[in-house]
């Protein structure tokens, strides 16, 4: 499925849109990690919590659980929260 990647993670993917797959968000992130080593830990901590300033949307709805099921037709958008300074 199509995954939109925010600019802070382009150093891993080299582009803003990639293809990755999996039946759940956890599996999708594992596929991203397989393709782009190191990317998952920048988004998800060692307790499998999505990091404080990262957000994941599936078909426009925000997702909080890695167990969230996904379908091949879903569109996943990863963004960073509007924080900083």
């Amino acid at each position: 499925m199509k995954v939109l990647i925010p600019s802070p993670l382009h150093s891993y993917t080299g582009r803003s849109q990639v293809e990755a797959g999996g039946p759940t968000l956890a599996a999708l992130l594992a596929d991203l990690e397989r393709q782009y080593p190191g990317i998952r830990f920048r988004m998800v901590d060692e307790q499998d919590r999505i990091r404080r300033h990262m957000r994941v949307f599936v078909n426009g709805d925000q997702v909080f659980e890695l167990a969230r099921p996904l379908r091949p037709s879903d569109e996943v958008i990863i963004v960073q929260a509007l924080t900083g300074g």
């Binding site: 830990f41 920048r42 901590d45 060692e46 990262m54």
Partner: protein
């Protein structure tokens, strides 16, 4: 011989290459513009491997590695991370790696890292894959001494000042901004507190390790049985085998006080050390006292202190220097370096007698390390 300065800032890392006389400096950077660097350290065992502790405001922490002194970088395969908690338990996650220490000369490839929240980690492959010390990170007593994130400094409690005894790779020290100084004689399989003689904030029990707030601990390379410490509550010296810290900061001028973050020891004279005091009064402004920054030096192990401010701003300079943002080189005379919270890089080529600014307008500086290159 040339000197390399490694500068970690809130917005990237910079390298400064000095000429042989330390008069001119070639700037190399920024590396990873926008990343927060708490420490950038060269491996003295090979003279070319750099480790850099990084995160951004949004992304999780990582370690960047270079094996060619910063020309190219590669990310650690497994950055420091706590063990996954059992189901139903609240596990900790590393917010940032704060401190990096190369291992003993006899153990090439070994590195230690201290994190926030407080954790101790070790790598055996030059900083690519990191493993937690369960003797600290998962020990119930140590977890109690660490307290919670809320008990620490504003951006999180720090494990820092990881020291390897140059005579014995199994003899380790580390300090926690919330939780005291600790020592291991068995390579880290077990640790014990080393806080006797240290004072704590008035009204608290100094016997409780949790209330101890060391800011920076240094071992004297010329006399490894001597340690100096800049603490939240004063400046101290410890001469082993004694376990009793002696408050040598009481000999500092009263109007300046003995609060600060960094401390630097002389590479060849264990009686000489430098501190950079800050204002620890009222609400703890953490600026230079009265807006007049100065380094203070002792040449007699803390019995007396001399102000060294020639070349530094005479007034209206409200910056300070963080705990790993001041260092010395091993040249003769010793070069001293510090980076300020206002983004200035200062140096002295004559052991603190005269100071000059070698870079301005950098982001807030978190770390400065010096190394000699053949």
């Amino acid at each position: 011989m040339k000197t390399l300065l490694m500068v970690g800032t809130r917005k990237g890392a910079w390298l400064f290459h000095g000429d042989g006389a330390r008069r001119t400096w070639r700037l190399d950077g920024p590396h990873f513009l926008g990343h927060i660097f708490n420490h950038v350290v060269l491996d003295p065992r090979d003279g070319r491997t750099l480790l850099a502790a990084a995160k951004t405001g949004h992304l999780g922490p990582t370690i960047f590695r270079s094996t060619d002194r910063g020309r190219t970088w590669k990310e650690a395969a497994r950055p420091p991370a706590f063990a996954k908690a059992a189901a139903g338990e609240q596990g900790r996650s590393v917010d940032h790696t704060f401190w990096l220490t190369p291992g003993h000369a006899s153990q090439p490839g070994v590195w230690f890292a201290g994190t926030s929240p407080q954790g101790l980690f070790r790598s055996e492959d030059g900083g690519s894959r990191w493993s937690p010390f369960s003797s600290i990170n998962d020990d119930p007593q140590y977890r109690a001494w660490m307290g919670t994130v809320q008990d620490g400094t504003p951006d999180g409690p720090k494990l820092h000042s990881i020291i390897v005894d140059p005579r014995d790779p199994a003899h380790l020290y580390f300090a926690m901004s919330g939780g005291g100084v600790h020592e291991s004689l068995d390579g880290g399989a077990s640790f014990a507190p080393l806080v006797q003689g240290l004072e704590v904030v008035e009204g608290f029990d100094r016997a409780n390790v949790t209330f101890h707030d060391p800011h920076c601990v240094r071992l004297c390379p010329s006399r490894p049985d001597r340690l100096y410490q800049q603490n939240h509550c004063g400046i101290y010296r410890l001469d082993r085998p004694s376990n009793e810290w002696l408050r040598i900061g009481k000999h500092m001028p009263r109007r300046v006080g003995d609060v600060g973050f960094p401390l630097v020891v002389h590479p060849r004279d264990a009686d000489t050390a430098w501190v950079l005091p800050m204002d620890g009064g009222t609400v703890w402004p953490r600026t230079s006292p009265q807006g007049k920054p100065a380094v203070y030096r002792t040449k007699d192990a803390g019995k007396t202190w001399q102000r060294q401010d020639v070349g530094l701003p005479e007034k209206h300079a409200w910056w300070t220097v963080k705990r790993q943002a001041m260092c010395g080189d091993s040249r003769d005379p010793v070069g001293l370096y510090f980076g300020t919270t206002s983004g200035e890089l200062w140096m002295s080529g004559d052991e603190g007698r005269r100071w000059r600014c070698i870079a301005r307008h950098l982001p807030e500086i978190y770390a400065v390390e010096a190394a000699e290159l053949a």
